[in-house]
């Protein structure tokens, strides 16, 4: 589904990603872990097509297409979804209205019929139950005045509505209390299938207790320095990131 080859990317003159290789197949859950500043969020942003991040070399194919040929919205239509670390607020635009616009745009480009108000509301209500989203939340302006937890739940709620092939969760667990974490994890687990894939970008292991990854990658200084299974995440949690640093720096010296 996703093939990242020797990806290098920078912001301004600063190179952040320094040769990433990653392959994600349908039905898989990958966790990308790493200390602050290792390039986790940059990777997520490059995948989604954020302009400030300049790709200097390497390639990414997504479902057979060169990802760099696609605009951010074309990536979304094709099934790429990013749950933002910091979801933005859009005053005056109700969450319902925003979601309906998004869903119908995506549906249209996937060759599906647009949903009328009634069918959309039906779909929305079903997913609201799953993510424990309150009606008053969807009536409010998008993300405006939402608590941290509400914003993150709203991201996964959008994921549910947009039915992506590849979902990237960028630090979705940060700022969540344990109850909210469970709701988010349940939602994600419910959406997981053999047809889609999930990349979880996180600093901590705790979300991975609820969403069990097939692969764990450690990102350090713009490179994936270690890959393994879920046990690697536990090891990281126990030992911190210092031993990775030592190991990597040891190697490079």
């Amino acid at each position: 589904m996703l093939k990242v080859k020797n990806l290098r990317a920078s912001v301004g003159d600063k190179e952040i990603l320094r040769g990433i290789n990653l392959e994600v197949n349908a039905g898989e859950v990958h966790a990308i872990m790493g200390p602050n500043g290792s390039g986790k969020s940059t990777l997520a942003s490059v995948l989604a097509g954020r302009e400030e991040y300049k790709v200097t070399s390497g390639s990414i194919t997504f479902l057979g297409d060169n990802l760099f040929d696609l605009s951010p919205e074309e990536r979304a239509w094709k099934g790429l979804f990013l749950a933002f670390q910091y979801p933005v607020e859009i005053p005056g635009v109700s969450t319902t209205n925003f979601l309906k616009t998004a869903v119908n745009n995506v549906r249209e480009h996937r060759g599906l019929k647009k949903l009328d108000a009634v069918s959309f509301l039906k779909l929305m209500r079903e997913q609201m139950k799953l993510m424990d989203i309150d009606q008053s939340l969807v009536n409010r302006s998008l993300n405006e005045g939402f608590s941290g937890g509400e914003k993150k739940r709203n991201e996964i709620f959008q994921m549910a509505l947009l039915d992506p092939k590849l979902a990237i969760l960028d630090e979705t667990d940060s700022g969540l209390d344990i109850d909210a974490l469970k709701i988010v994890a349940n939602g994600v687990n419910h959406l997981k299938s053999s047809n889609n894939a999930i990349i979880i970008v996180t600093h901590y292991q705790r979300l991975l207790e609820y969403i069990v990854p097939d692969f764990v990658h450690v990102l350090f200084n713009g490179q994936i320095v270690k890959s393994g299974t879920k046990e690697l995440a536990i090891e990281l949690e126990e030992k911190g990131y210092d031993w990775i640093r030592e190991e990597v720096e040891g190697i490079s010296i």
């Binding site: 919205e73 933005v88 859009i90 005056g92 635009v93």
Partner: protein, 484 residues
């Protein structure tokens, strides 16, 4: 919601939609302005002497005054001798009913999406009575008979002069005096037609009254005059829309709207202004120099202005409220959008005279392209206006880095019990907002329309349903191509 999307889709690929013109034979005055032209217009309308005298007085005063220089707009000097001051589509002397109207005219209004044939509607659905003004004359007024049963007068201004001279004489110039300002004075001299409405005591007007203005003929100025009188305890909601063909020369539009609201009465006045804004390089477009003012003459009366300004090369207008009656309320809700080389200097005046008077100003400016957008507003609390209240909210939204947003609030308080609040914000459509929308599959163009409509929501929701839809379309259309 589905409407919104459909509109966005429909309109994101279009330029100014109403840029066409129709070949309608017109009966025009010679170009230029002098006393004879004023007499010509008056004679065409078969006006009584008092009105001709009134016009001449205005014209003579106009000769002694100068164009205002204070607005934050620039344009080449207008040659007032290069304008045709009267142009009427040639047709039967006076249509007795709608069937006698020139089909070309009906076609013109159909193109605008305005049905000037009376439609039978399902009971319970409000309909809109329309007065259609093309170039200098009113060509049709619908639902007159239905309204007449309630004692409501809704007709063209010219007709009102003949049929209801006592009302016209009493209220004409009572809110906007003939000597008020350069453009209002010019209008007083050469106004050609417009709409007149009178809502009698205690009558709640059951339908929206609406005037659609259309400049069709070339080199023609449009100088219409609207006079609304809402008698004690009455209510009316009035809509005004306007369009013009795309022409390379600038066209002058100098209108006057006067509203008189008596005790316990209320008038809601909504405008969707979509005059031709000029092309992308700033060639052509309408100069929209308009004076609109209402007086809350009686106690507990209310005037509410809502405007959506998307058109015109230059907009210069300040719909105002004189709050004379005790406990009277004035409101001004505005969205002004400028793109390319458009310039807008618009706002309101709230003059508090009576006790416990309240005013509310919500102004939302959106500037894009190389345009300049200014809010200019005056809140004046007079000496005897005990416990007056004002709240003003002035927001500006910038798109791109070549446009300008300006705010000129004037606050004059002469009574210590007054409470005046002013809030202002300036923001830019954020890259992060656009990216967020893109990531959810919404194109940049649609995202801009969505964000701007959200930003302007507080104003848009004041509009009657029919207009709200049109206004949303216009916002999307006006800002098309402004990012990216």
């Amino acid at each position: 919601m589905s409407k919104e999307e459909q509109l966005l889709k429909e309109f994101t690929s279009m330029e100014y939609e109403h840029g066409w013109s129709v070949d309608i034979e017109a009966d025009s005055a010679p170009m230029g302005l002098n006393e004879d032209i004023v007499r010509f217009i008056s004679a065409k309308k078969n006006e009584p002497d008092w009105l001709l005298e009134w016009r001449l007085k205005a014209y003579r005063h106009w000769l002694t005054i100068e164009e205002p220089k204070w607005p934050n707009v620039t344009y080449p000097k207008i040659n007032y001798q290069d304008i045709i001051y009267y142009s009427a589509p040639k047709q039967k002397v006076k249509p007795e009913n709608l069937d006698e109207i020139d089909p070309e005219l009906i076609e013109t209004f159909n193109k605008l999406g305005i049905n000037i044939e009376e439609q039978k509607r399902l009971t319970g659905v409000t309909s809109v009575a329309v007065d259609a003004v093309i170039d200098s004359v009113s060509v049709a007024t619908t639902f007159k008979d239905t309204l007449a049963e309630l004692g409501i007068i809704f007709c063209s201004f010219s007709e009102a002069v003949h049929e209801h001279p006592e009302l016209v004489k009493k209220y004409l110039g009572s809110v906007v005096p003939m000597t008020d300002n350069y453009f209002a004075t010019l209008n007083s001299a050469v106004f050609s037609d417009g709409s007149f409405a009178y809502i009698p005591k205690g009558v709640h007007c059951p339908m929206e009254l609406s005037t659609y203005f259309r400049i069709n003929a070339a080199n023609t100025g449009q100088f219409e005059r609207t006079l609304l009188v809402v008698d004690e305890g009455a209510y009316v909601s009035y809509l005004e829309g306007c369009t013009a063909p795309a022409r390379d020369e600038n066209q002058l539009h100098a209108a006057v709207v006067e509203i008189y609201v008596a005790k316990n009465a209320e008038c809601k006045y909504s405008t969707v202004q979509n005059w031709y804004p000029g092309n992308k390089d700033g060639i052509g477009g309408v100069y929209n120099f308009v004076t609109k003012r209402g007086i809350c003459a009686g106690d507990n009366s209310k005037i509410s202005w809502t405007q959506v300004e998307t058109g015109s090369a230059i907009t210069w207008k300040y719909p105002s409220c004189i709050l004379k009656g005790d406990n009277s309320i004035g409101e001004f809700y505005s969205v002004a959008v400028t793109n390319n080389y458009q310039q807008a200097d618009t706002g309101t005046k709230m003059i508090h005279i009576g006790k416990n008077t309240k005013s509310r100003i919500v102004s939302k400016g959106v500037s894009a392209g190389k345009s300049q957008n200014s809010y200019r507003g005056l809140v004046r609390i007079n000496k005897r206006a005990e416990n007056a209240r004002n709240f003003s909210q002035c927001d500006s939204l910038l798109m791109g880095d070549q446009c300008g947003a300006h705010t000129f609030p004037y606050i004059e308080v002469h009574n210590k019990s007054a409470q005046v609040e002013h809030e202002a914000t300036t923001s830019k459509i954020g890259e992060d907002q656009l990216f967020y929308c893109n990531q959810r599959g919404i194109s940049t163009e649609d995202a801009v329309a969505l964000i701007v409509n959200g930003y302007a929501k507080e104003v848009l929701k004041q509009l009657p349903m029919e207009f709200a839809v049109e206004a949303q379309k216009l916002l999307a259309l006006t800002l098309e191509g402004s990012i990216g």
